[in-house]
Symmetry: C2
Subunit: 380 residues, 2 copies
């Protein structure tokens, strides 16, 4: 028996509490039962997004919510600045261009970030920029971008800040209202530890005002229309009912843990994983602030990163992820987000040692586990 | 104890086989496991859609797939004809107008249909119509539109036929390839008896050719891009993994039953429900061919249809549906689609009798049950 373990940067394992709640008989979405369910979920989402505003759920995956964020606040011919330092930064560019939005790319090599000062300069140099679009956690590289800094400089202009928090919500602190982030996008399958298929857009008052002037066509993703239902604890179109049922369970779990403790847990898992990888002489791919959601590691010289991913799966029944696009074969990525705890990290590192040995890399068995244990031995 | 029973026109109950399959540990969507899962599902979908072409799944609910059908085959300024005889016909109109598509409305009073001859006349009178959009089963009224007839007349023009089969797939016969339907849209929560959150677009070669000239903006719903992944048994964006896992189970169930038997079962449930309602002296709302997915019944004189829905819920813990929009209060709707069998119909009718008596309507107890039993006693 090899126990199946999902350690990719999303989807993450789903806790049994949520799986079993979702395995209950289907309920209808136009009933008092759903209204009661959604009323609890709506309040919980505000806590998780750290906003007083309403969070709009959409039945789609994260990319759909990214698109919703753009098409509800922008118009064709608008100019935006995009932080492009990974595959999901590229996705912002692709979405904008698909809708005729002009993009000023703020690019950085993958594994690095863009300092807030560069955003400030761009906003000054190019007047009329309508929005700055970024990831919070860029899960293709494992870098955490400085959303707080981006918000500070964006607030001094007329632009709004749109942050993709798909792999940071309930993982890394993102104080939407306090920092002044205008749109936060998230999905169900990362920090919320649910199956994919439910995503969210939270909008500031500034962003809601933009929806009134946005002329891009939309129907299914019309957030202003959907909001009219959200405030009544209803849904415009048939919602992803079962995932909303699971969401109530994970909101209860996260509230019991406490949001600050959730962030601390992920921070510790990230530090332990990085310490473990470095104890094996491996190079971390993220040269900027690392994301607490995942750790991207450069494959050792002469070893194909894809072979590491394959060996995790074949020898140990553990799913991790390789590099995407130009990073394919060069890196591998260990997820430690959502339903992830200390001994998952211990297992991942122990498996990494065994995989490297299997691929002919000299390994000091136990070295990475020891390094992680030292992190876990620190007071939380 | 009152057993909860979901008898609305979708979502329908989910069989335990699917619920428990979906309660298994989450898998990742970029793995050989998902590829094997999707390879089986992809083949099963072709059988269910009665097409040789690929069926594209989308993580969204039915409305998202309706929008995808329109924005991938049409362009702003195009003219289309829409069969508008219910709330979902109105939805086609709304989607088209949101994207700047001109609509020729082929309207009929709710509860009725539009004959194929009228579609033919419109196509002749208004040259240049790019598409005819219709429902197959209009679940707001309980009418089955003549998609076969619409296809026959549409094939003689340059227009394509786009059919919303959300509440008819795996319920009523819709021979996509044989009849020449160009786009078929469906969802997971009706005949496929799964949670909502997964929807589908199947396109004919004519429709795929249209995707090359369509200029409407799209990204998440770009079917031509998604198809490149579907043919490799992959997904462009994170799919609704858990519902796809459930889909494999229901495809196996439906294949074991046999598609013709699935249609026969729904036909019998529909006939029995209608016979039962008429045995109580109630008027059926559908004046045209009734949908085998649901039965819409006119509330008895002096009785608010919403009170019937409420009494089903409060007295018997059964969810049925009321009328939508202008039909609110005037009708109630009994679903008998998906995971629905003969004794569910018996229960629904027995409950209907008790509800009517409770609301002061004189009832001959057992009359509707007897009428349904007579239908079920016929050879299948």
């Amino acid at each position: 028996m090899k126990k199946y373990q999902l350690m990719a940067p999303g989807p993450t394992p789903v806790p049994s509490q949520a799986l079993l709640a979702m395995a209950q008989p289907m309920i209808h979405h136009r009933t008092p039962e759903y209204e009661a369910l959604f009323t609890e979920v709506r309040a919980g989402l505000k806590t998780l997004f750290q906003t007083q505003g309403d969070v709009v759920p959409l039945a789609c995956s994260g990319t759909g919510a990214m698109e919703a964020a753009a098409v509800n606040t922008l118009s064709a011919g608008d100019t935006v600045a995009v932080i492009r330092a990974g595959k999901f930064g590229e996705r912002w560019v692709e979405i904008c261009r698909a809708y005729g939005i002009d993009v000023v790319e703020l690019a950085a090599p993958f594994g690095q970030t863009v300092p807030a000062e560069r955003v400030a300069e761009t906003l000054q140099k190019t007047p009329g920029i309508k929005a700055v679009l970024t990831q919070h956690s860029e899960s293709s590289t494992g870098v955490l971008h400085d959303v707080r800094g981006f918000a500070a400089v964006t607030r001094t202009s007329d632009a709004i800040l749109i942050a993709d928090a798909v792999s940071s919500l309930a993982i890394a602190d993102l104080q939407m209202d306090a920092w002044g982030v205008d749109v936060v996008v998230a999905g169900s399958q990362k920090g919320l530890m649910l199956p994919p298929g439910l995503a969210f857009c939270a909008l500031s008052d500034r962003a809601w005002a933009r929806t009134k002037t946005s002329t891009l066509p939309k129907y299914y993703f019309n957030l202003a229309e959907e909001r009219k239902f959200v405030v009544k604890a209803e849904a415009h179109f048939t919602p992803a009912v079962s995932i909303v049922v699971g969401l109530r369970e994970v909101i209860r779990m996260l509230e019991a843990e406490g949001l600050q403790n959730v962030f601390r847990r992920h921070d510790r898992l990230g530090r332990a994983t990085r310490a473990g990888a470095e104890a094996l002489g491996l190079e971390l791919f993220a040269k900027a602030t690392p994301s607490p959601a995942l750790t991207s590691v450069v494959a050792p010289p002469g070893v194909d990163g894809e072979k590491i991913v394959a060996a995790f799966s074949k020898s140990h029944n553990i799913t991790i992820a390789g590099g995407q696009g130009e990073m394919k074969g060069k890196i591998f990525r260990l997820g430690h987000m959502g339903y992830a705890a200390e001994f998952d990290t211990i297992s991942a590192l122990a498996a990494l040692e065994q995989v490297l040995a299997e691929l002919g890399v000299p390994v000091d068995f136990g070295a990475s586990v020891r390094a992680a244990q030292k992190v876990f031995a620190e007071k939380p």
